[in-house]
């Protein structure tokens, strides 16, 4: 077997220096870092509330959900899914078709979306998860393309025009929650919840199983972990997150068309996860924000956008594969016990 020199899960080095770098690391590694981030997100509309910036920020947040979902599949469990956008498609189309057909607010399609995405996860996962990672990648790409082509060809999904005129997210009496500002806040709350849930999943027992499978699948199997089931669960959770993103996507754009589900979009989500730091939810969020906001900020360089992303991907994987913000071990620091003290003392003699 080829050597596995992957050291991304070494426990954090103990803080021995009081330098600025060490202090910054401690701050950013602090488990409460999420609250200031949430605070900033909640306060953004007070800085700029034009239709354009609200639109861009909402789109960026939806992309964050996608990246979080893919992080479960790729980052936690090590399954390279190149067709992840298919789950967004399933979620968005389900929400769009049902809400338009039955004239429901999009929020009410949530149960159906969850069911459909779980089914999609099962359907795509079942045949592919027995394959090696290389084949898994191509086959998931194939499934992504099949989903897009099917959406493009069927009458039910509106063919190439897609579904448009999707009703608003929810209307309470006179109040339309689809208004940019209100919808932005709803998105912030939902995204925060989803990111937190995904991170929690990563720290749970299932999350540990995922990491074990990622590290060494055969050893995990030997230790009694039902790897097939564990991998399938990773897929399904990833799919459900894609479904949530799909609901937000459908209401945000009020139109769903097959052109939004090209392989290119799958690759962009993958880039967000890889560049941000596979397996580290915080890094992935930042990666997602950068990938979705940078094109808007650099509109003049639109021609070179994807070229830069491609080169960046290669450079990052060669020089810093753990990404911008590496994942660290989750085992809590042990407190020094009497035994440890004795051992340490014994060593120093």
């Amino acid at each position: 077997m080829s050597e596995n020199t992957d050291t991304t899960f070494a426990p954090p080095p103990p803080r021995t220096k009081n330098t600025l770098g060490a202090r910054l690391t401690a701050i950013f590694e602090n488990k409460y870092i999420g609250w200031p981030a949430l605070g900033i997100a909640l306060l953004m509309p007070f800085i700029t509330a034009s239709a354009y910036s609200l639109n861009v920020m909402t789109t960026a947040l939806i992309f964050v959900v996608l990246a979080a979902g893919l992080n479960i599949v790729v980052g936690y469990c090590g399954l390279l899914d190149l067709g992840y956008i298919a789950f967004l498609a399933v979620g968005a189309y389900t929400a769009g078709i049902l809400s338009k057909m039955f004239e429901l607010p999009v929020l009410f399609t949530l149960p159906a979306v969850i069911v459909m995405t779980v089914l999609a996860g099962l359907l795509i996962g079942a045949p592919t998860l027995r394959l090696r990672s290389d084949y898994l990648a191509i086959v998931t790409l194939g499934f992504g393309e099949i989903t897009r082509i099917t959406a493009n060809n069927l009458q039910l999904t509106g063919g190439p025009s897609g579904i448009f005129g999707i009703p608003s997210f929810l209307t309470i009496g006179e109040l339309d929650l689809q208004q940019p500002v209100i919808f932005y806040y709803i998105t912030v709350v939902m995204v925060a919840g989803l990111v937190l849930a995904a991170a929690r999943l990563g720290k749970s027992r299932l999350g540990r199983a995922w990491r074990y499978v990622k590290e060494d699948e055969d050893a995990a199997e030997a230790m009694g972990i039902h790897t097939y089931k564990v991998k399938l669960l990773a897929y399904i959770f990833g799919a459900v997150w894609g479904g949530f993103a799909g609901i937000l996507f459908a209401s945000h754009l009020s139109a769903v068309s097959p052109q939004s589900f090209l392989f290119l979009q799958s690759a962009l989500v993958l880039m967000a996860v890889v560049l941000g730091g596979m397996g580290n939810m915080k890094g992935v969020v930042i990666g997602a924000l950068v990938i979705s906001l940078l094109p808007e900020l650099l509109r003049d360089f639109a021609e070179y956008r994807y070229l830069v992303f491609g080169v960046l991907l290669v450079v990052v994987m060669v020089f810093r594969p753990q990404g911008f913000w590496p994942a660290r071990g989750y085992e809590p620091e042990r407190k020094m016990t009497a035994v440890d003290a004795a051992v340490a003392e014994g060593r120093s003699r």
């Binding site: 202090r23 401690a26 701050i27 602090n30 409460y32 870092i33 609250w35 200031p36 981030a37 605070g39 900033i40 306060l43 953004m44 509309p45 007070f46 800085i47 700029t48 509330a49 034009s50 239709a51 354009y52 910036s53 609200l54 639109n55 861009v56 789109t59 493009n152 060809n153 063919g159 190439p160 025009s161 897609g162 448009f164 005129g165 500002v181 754009l253 009020s254 139109a255 068309s257 052109q259 939004s260 808007e296 509109r299 639109a302 021609e303």
Partner: protein
């Protein structure tokens, strides 16, 4: 640990308060959406345009932008409108993608444009309709012409390119005039393209003189179309109508001729591009096209072409004249309405009758489409499209 927690919390709060107070004016607590506090009663009138600047449709976007800019320059040189206010053209990229189109539309709305004169890819333009509609900004769409745009039935939307319906009527006219008995229809499974084949099929069947023997789709982006070529040759159709874009059209035409197809070939306006001849080679000779007149096929457009070339140093291409007319129409409507209020401009547009455009004197139907689609039949000769039949 406690120290770190406190520090984090303090830093977070400080950052948040700092952000909120320093940039207050643009946000919710500020003067609302407006960057400079409401419409100025003087100062430039902004006209917005969402067109493909990047991506494979970029050349068309450039033609449209230049055409529009030419009109803006002419109007400004003549003194502007509404007592000397200058026009300003704001251009944003749709890249033929729905999400980008939506973002760009929002950007223009935030920049307080008065009228939108963009719209090339129907797929990217459809989601923009509610955004401009919600801001009560009239849209004069010079290129995108899917029937879906019309079906939405929105008040603020005006189409000045012939619709899919009108294009198929032109196709039917030519088919019956030339006496073809059997017709094959091929599209590339995109919204714009299937629109035309669906309409053409129902019109041809309704008319009854000719028969549709094949109606099929192909995948865009491939090289090998032997399957559809077999279908066409096997169907015995006397004429094939391809409604997709030139990239695939060129390949299909070449492969049809290689396979020995002797019938005639007609393409829709998405394929009426000089590159078609580049790709199809000699096979493109004699190919017909339903198209709204391009600058080089219009009578009396020589001076306009010369102006365009002098201004931009390039030859004008498809949709440059429509974009030019769109801006002129917008200016006319604003002048007639006497204000930059959206609702009043819409009323003015509805009332316009006989305004001279390249496609003829303008009159809007109840559905806000052209009463005369303006489609003509072109024919490829020597690698260029020339006017074959003006169908009037």
């Amino acid at each position: 640990m406690k120290n770190t927690r406190r520090t984090t919390a303090l830093l977070g709060m400080a950052a948040a308060v700092l952000l909120a107070t320093t940039a207050c004016s643009g946000g919710l607590l500020g003067g609302g959406d407006a960057e400079d506090g409401g419409e100025a009663a003087s100062g430039p009138i902004k006209i917005g345009m969402v067109i493909p600047i990047s991506g494979s449709s970029a050349p068309s976007g450039e033609y449209m932008q230049n055409g529009a800019q030419l009109a803006v320059n002419e109007i400004n040189d003549a003194g502007g409108i509404l007592d000397g206010r200058m026009l300003e053209l704001l251009v944003e990229d749709e890249a033929c993608d729905a999400q980008q189109g939506v973002a760009s539309a929002n950007k223009l709305v935030s920049s307080e444009v008065v009228v939108s004169v963009g719209g090339y890819c129907s797929g990217a333009t459809l989601p923009q309709l509610p955004i401009f509609g919600g801001a009560n900004i009239p849209m004069i769409i010079p290129a995108a012409n899917s029937q879906d745009l019309v079906r939405e039935g929105l008040d603020n939307v005006f189409l000045i390119n012939g619709t899919g319906l009108q294009q198929s009527t032109a196709a039917l006219d030519f088919i019956t005039k030339s006496g073809y008995a059997t017709v094959a229809l091929v599209d590339d499974n995109t919204s714009y393209s299937t629109d035309i084949t669906t309409e053409t099929e129902s019109q041809v069947t309704g008319d009854g003189t000719a028969e549709v023997v094949l109606n099929t789709s192909v995948n865009a982006g491939e090289s090998d179309y032997s399957a559809v070529v077999r279908d066409i040759t096997g169907s015995g159709a006397e004429i094939v109508y391809w409604t997709g874009y030139y990239q695939e059209g060129g390949l299909i035409i070449d492969q049809l001729r290689q396979a020995g197809y002797t019938g005639d070939i007609m393409v829709a306006d998405g394929s009426a591009d000089a590159t078609l001849a580049e790709i199809a080679g000699d096979a493109a000779e004699g190919v017909f096209a339903t198209m709204t007149p391009t600058p080089d096929t219009l009578e009396g457009a020589e001076e306009w072409i010369a102006n365009y070339e002098a201004e931009f140093g390039a030859t004008p291409g498809p949709y440059s004249t429509q974009a030019y007319d769109a801006v002129r129409l917008a200016a006319e409507a604003i002048e007639t309405a006497g204000s930059t209020d959206g609702a009043e401009i819409i009323t003015a547009l509805e009332g316009i009758s006989g305004f001279e455009m390249f496609s003829g004197p303008l009159e809007f139907t109840d559905e806000h489409t052209l009463s005369n689609g303006g489609f003509v039949i072109l024919k490829m000769e020597g690698g260029k499209f020339i006017l074959e039949d003006s169908l009037s």
